[in-house]
Subunit: 241 residues, 4 copies
């Protein structure tokens, strides 16, 4: 585990320790010698560190033939290009870089994209705790953009509204209305609502604690050895047909 | 039944006919002689007519000692004052005038008002078919105002939003955020969300056809004889403790 | 339209008439001459008739090179085998036979099957009007069986229940708990709930009138010419990736 | 605070400390001298201790003219009778004993009881984490019994079910169907569904952490001095009209 003393790192160390089919080898944090990963014959590294150090970490683990599952943020196209070069030079090594490991969130977006073309109307409601600074949430904005892209060429949502209070119809993200609720007692929730004649379809994701990334990271750790090369996003590992 | 050939009137004629404890006497519509109500010894009149004729109708039925359940719109304070004078002059006659007979909608507002003081946060989401012209709906705006009044003196909803797209946080109705969804496949729906530390309470009302006024009108017909004087709104008849 | 005077048939005749990119040619019902389909150069036939006549109908339209979209029930494996022989003998002709044209229901099942492997727990709640005779609904039972099949080899839902009232934990359909709610004011609704550490995913389908088959039939009519051979179920036409 | 070192006690000590209008005086736990409550001029005691010691605690605080808010369990009718005698002998002292301080749960039951008479159908769905031992939950069973009592004399839920899998229609609690979902990723949730012609009303309560009792206890602490005598349950303090 790289970043083993951080909040996410500590949670993952415990989760790997509790998984019967996985063995925890060693944790490395700022100040520790990264060579410990090699000395302990670690097969898969989990990296939840910092944009400042993650590229050096990745260069080291790829060069040493260790697979990597990376949740650290800040990957630009340029950074992804460099990582792809490194893994191409080390056939057999698998690296997964993903912005979101919550399986429910990843599936929600996948389903929303699939359903987008088959309904006249679609709107997104995201609901979060009131300490959140941005509205809509990054996930909601991304979901709306994925939907909008899938609907290219389709007529817009029907909407006969002629008299509206400011804000009533939500924010417009690429033509998709997005509504942001901020409520004490909530954590992170999202609903995508699709509707057509006589029927509606709702995809709802509720995340109620900060450990919902755990099953997704474990799934990636178990599969990355069979996925040589660079994979971006958890979705390809889910083998959705 | 006054207005017996209108859509609502015809539905109510059928509903009264189907109720075992009620007897349908006669229907009166434009052009018919209103004296038929008296000749048939009608005990309770249901009036779903038009603001232009409803005052004459009411004067007639009250003067003849007939109770009335009225769903016709357009009652100003001045009109209510006049009706009150008429019933005061006819002790024992009961008149109910209500803007909304859907019991679920009436209870939703009642519960929302009761819950308002006990939660840090409250928001309203209303969801309707895309042919609707106004946003938010009249019911949602009225619900928000009732909540705002019940919360007088309380701190506003906590909300740390610093970066928001226009409209993301909904419309502001007396300090309560109201979000309006317009979606094919929906009819008329509303959620009031309350939240405080560790818990949320949601009151949801779904109305999926235009006959949801029937049970409320029947309830009023059955009770109005025991409610002399003028009653405004269905809520007092529900005897909520 | 074959079966043009039935409830579904009449609805589809109107829907085709209202679609700008489609032209209604002719309706045929019991007693009418089926040759009218050929005389009017009909390209696609919609068949909502009866198991007793549908095979003769299909033989006729396939032999005449007309595509068919079929919602009639009663297709056994043996019947499907015969239809397949007929279309194989007429290259270029496309026939779609589907038990359910509500796109939301078809997508719900597809998503439920895709999500099934990624969550520890899954349960199904279906909610219908109280006139329904069977519990659970056919769709819910089919959804549960699809999920159970996708979860083969996985551990069962965790469940520490030791004291339960009869029926509290629902019906067991291949190991998946299914709960049936019967409530006045509802039509046909279903929720599939998935859960794992810290997060849940819910797929909800609401069908509130009997015309929710229309968009699915229209979609099939538009695509069937590009789908030679026999297709069973609407799902393949949705091109879900 | 009596029981100040327990989980609930520690949470309440922190909550009182954080409340601007309240002053924390002292904590007392097993082995501590209960006289500290009097020496510190404590006005209101919070008791989350144990059935074995709570009666002695209450005798002491009432005799010393201190108000009490009690969440300890195990109060039989006989115990309540004795506490009532003690407070009657000390005019001005207020004691609240409540089994549930989650305001959302208390309001849910109140609203369910109020709505019960106005709908043809009602069912309860409760959803909990899979470590729960009993089904249905105590709160769901209590909610169903309150609803059943309010519906005395009304016809039962309409239900045309003739073919059902065992358990599909839920558990029967005094004639009200109750469905229990057990799902990883959930904490404690409950929905009461009411339905009549064309409309449904849903009251949903979500409790996602173990601190949802805090606002209810604080509300009781602030009001108990104005409520002399014994009060059972949080509901009377909410002044619901």
């Amino acid at each position: 585990m790289l970043g083993s003393k951080g909040k996410v790192g500590a949670t993952m160390v415990a989760a790997v320790g509790a998984a019967e089919d996985l063995t925890f080898t060693t944790g490395v944090d700022a100040g520790d010698d990264i060579n410990r990963l090699v000395e302990t014959s670690t097969e898969v590294v989990i990296d939840f560190t910092h944009p400042d150090v993650v590229m050096d970490n990745l260069k080291f683990v790829i060069d040493n033939g260790v697979h990597a599952v990376v949740g650290t943020t800040g990957f630009t196209d340029e950074r992804l290009r460099r990582v792809r070069q490194w893994v191409d030079a080390k056939p057999g090594v698998g690296v997964l870089i993903a912005p979101n490991f919550a399986i429910g969130a990843v599936l929600s977006m996948h389903f929303a994209r699939q359903a987008a073309r088959f309904f006249e109307s679609v709107e997104v409601i995201e609901l979060h705790h009131p300490q959140k600074a941005d509205a809509p949430s990054g996930t909601a904005a991304r979901t709306a953009r994925l939907i909008a892209e899938a609907r290219k060429g389709m007529p817009p949502n029907p909407d006969a509204t002629t008299t509206a209070l400011d804000g009533a119809r939500g924010a417009d993200v690429d033509g998709i209305p997005v509504h942001s609720v901020r409520l004490a007692g909530l954590v992170a929730h999202q609903e995508v609502l699709f509707g057509t004649q006589g029927e509606t379809l709702t995809i709802r994701h509720d995340s109620i604690d900060r450990t919902s990334f755990v099953p997704g990271v474990l799934l990636a750790v178990r599969q990355i050895a069979r996925r040589p090369g660079l994979t971006v996003g958890l979705e390809p590992l889910l083998d959705l047909r």
